[in-house]
Amino acid sequence: MPRVAYYKGCLASLSAKELDTSTRALAPKLNLELADLERVTCCGAGDIHEAEPDYYLHLNARILAYAEETGADTLMTICNVCTLNLRQANWQLKNDERLLERVNQNLETVGVPAYSGNVEVKHLLWLIAEGEGYELLKQAAHKGLKGLRVAPFYGCQILRPSKLLGFENPDRPWSLEAIIEACGGEPIDYPAKIKCCGFPIIQAREEVALGELIQPIEQAYEAGADVIVTPCPLCHLSLDAWQSKLKDATGKDFQMPILHLSQLIGVAAGLEESELKFKRHVVSVKPMLEKLEV
């Protein structure tokens, strides 16, 4: 069983615990052994990169160093923002010996092992969208989704900037669609699936953020989607929790259920509510469960 270092990030530890529990329940079915990282911190979510960029780099180097210490060659993420922040730091450290030397000196001064640059950061989505992971996914999703109409929402920082992410064409991504099909769902196409959910500025510029947020929800709704699925807990939080604010602002009540990637696969794989924790969602997923007769 391939062993991967598991970086769950802030939200899956706190407000999106359902992402963590469903990922852990799913992992053995996908032949993934998760090595927990107890000492790591937040990746900075792009905010520390913008406030104190040198600190951002060191925090992420520390995460990479502890991931390397587990002996795994892959650091698995379950959040777009963690993926970009860690891959950006990893790219910088791997491609600049002088930078790596300085950062390692600092890490060692405070008692953190030096980082040798032998870890690759990969999102769960990428591990199961092709190859052996995809074959295992097809086996795991034995209960299927009975043709559920699923709108994939990628979000930004798993696609762009492609020179740091680079798993798939950022304008014509296919991985979520492949997974939806493997689970027995019907992928719905709509233009805003690669656009921003507004989350990074939802505190500081709520109106602007809502102007972004409405696009994927409205388009998926009009295309007849039963649910939206996303690989990012920040997208999940804004799409799910801020839908009520969209209603207040526009009068439109979409009631669109939003699923984490691990929950969508989890339903197809027959996970229990104790692992999926749909009760933690703001928008009810009941219509979906009724359609699937779960």
Binding site: C10, L11, S13, L14, S15, K17, R39, V40, T41, C42, G44, A45, D47, I48, H49, E50, A51, E52, P53, D54, Y55, Y56, H58, L59, R62, Q92, N95, D96, R98, L99, N106, T109, V110, G111, V112, C156, Q157, R160, P161, P170, D171, P191, K195, C196, P200, I201, Q203, A204, R205, E207, V208, A209, L210, G211, E212, A241, S244, K245, R280, V282
Partner: protein, 373 residues
């Protein structure tokens, strides 16, 4: 028949291909919009702009688009191909023709269309002008000798200086779709081009201006600008540099800056984001209380984790110690942003200059300190 020397003299006939395009035609006068398909014979080396020229020359002289240099310098021919903002002179058509795909060509986004592929750039230019895109050296009297700066001191703004103001980044800016007044990626990259210029003396004034309601903190980090820029300017990175430089200079009144600073505080104290406190720390307690109804709705679903006892990472003292340790290492503010192809080389060598506050080290007429010292 074998090839003789004679056969190879003179220009070889140019191989051609049939190129098909669908173009969104538009007239702002009548408001009519129509998707028209064109197929023309073009040389195999043709780029999108060459094909448009052939269509205009041989098929329909009324087709409107902008062009000038044809070599990715002037920034005139920005337009969308299959929804992606590109420079028409940079896109080779042969691979597309060979794939059998018929691309859809349309005008750029976020700017009003005047005719066909021509957009009104006035809002774009007014935002560029709002950045005061000229040097403000900060001295009145003419110095006796010229100020001299090394390449290394200018390197931190190298990428921003590559901007050709084509508008491809603005075309796809997600924040600007929701807030048309957002200064946007092109203008803010231009802003850092001056904030980071060692010859400029108006850094603080500029940062204060760029920190307005529609400034730096309006950026939603969708990274479309970095993805689309045909010159590698990476405007999103420029905006992050402006943010870091603002916070370093104590210009942190914006909610966006407070939000960003709370993540630093969280990482130093518990290691993980102190999520529940994020709203009051960003918006202030009065505004947070106004949000109580919304917050209670989330709390019922476990979306507002109770902050006590806090969720603390093991050995978080290391994260705190790292923060203190690097504080004096000269990578404060924008200098801490490692970016692009040459990474730290550019930033390390800029230590002799780079940002405005180091300008005192450079005396008029004197050779600046060599790189790395």
């Amino acid at each position: 028949m074998s090839e003789t020397a004679f056969d190879t003299i003179g220009p070889a006939p140019t191989p051609t291909m049939d190129v098909a395009l669908k173009i969104w035609r538009y007239s702002s006068r009548t408001g009519e919009r129509e998707l028209k398909e064109y197929t023309v014979e073009a040389p195999e080396w043709a780029c999108l702009l060459d094909v448009l020229d052939i269509i205009k020359d041989r098929v329909d002289g009324s087709l409107a688009y902008r062009k000038s240099c044809r070599m990715m310098i002037c920034g005139s021919c920005g337009m969308r191909m299959d929804g992606r903002a590109v420079l028409a002179c940079k896109e080779r058509m042969q691979p597309i023709v060979e794939s059998g795909h018929v691309p859809v060509i349309s005008a750029m986004g976020n700017m009003p269309i005047l005719k066909d592929l021509v957009v009104d750039m006035d809002p774009f230019w007014s935002k560029i002008r709002a950045m005061k895109p000229w040097l403000q050296p900060g001295y009145q009297e003419r110095p006796e000798k010229e100020y001299r700066f090394s390449q290394e001191q200018m390197n931190p703004i190298h990428k921003e200086a590559l901007c050709i103001m084509c508008g491809c980044c603005v075309s796809e800016c997600n924040s600007m779709e929701a807030d048309p007044e957002f200064l946007g990626p092109a203008a803010l990259a231009k802003g850092f081009r001056f904030v980071g210029d060692p010859r400029d003396g108006a850094q603080i004034e500029r940062l204060n201006e760029y920190n307005g309601e529609h400034g730096i903190w309006d950026c939603t980090r969708c990274y479309f600008c970095n993805e689309r820029c045909p010159k590698g300017v990476d405007p999103r990175d420029s905006i992050a540099k402006l943010g870091a430089e603002s916070i370093e200079q104590g210009i942190d009144h914006d909610l966006g800056a407070k939000h960003a600073k709370w993540f630093v505080k969280s990482a130093k104290t518990t290691g993980w984001l102190r999520e529940t406190e994020l709203v009051p720390k960003t918006q202030g307690y009065v505004s947070a209380i106004k949000q109580t109804k919304f917050a209670l709705g989330l709390a019922r679903r476990g979306k507002v984790p109770i902050p006590f006892p806090p969720h603390v990472a093991e050995e978080v003292s290391e994260a705190r110690a790292l923060h203190d340790l690097i504080a004096g290492q000269g990578r404060e503010g924008a200098k801490g942003i490692v970016q692009g192809e040459r990474g730290l080389a550019r930033i390390e060598r800029s230590d002799a200059g780079g940002a405005k506050r180091d300008i005192a080290e450079v005396t008029p007429g004197e050779e600046p300190a060599p790189a790395g010292h």
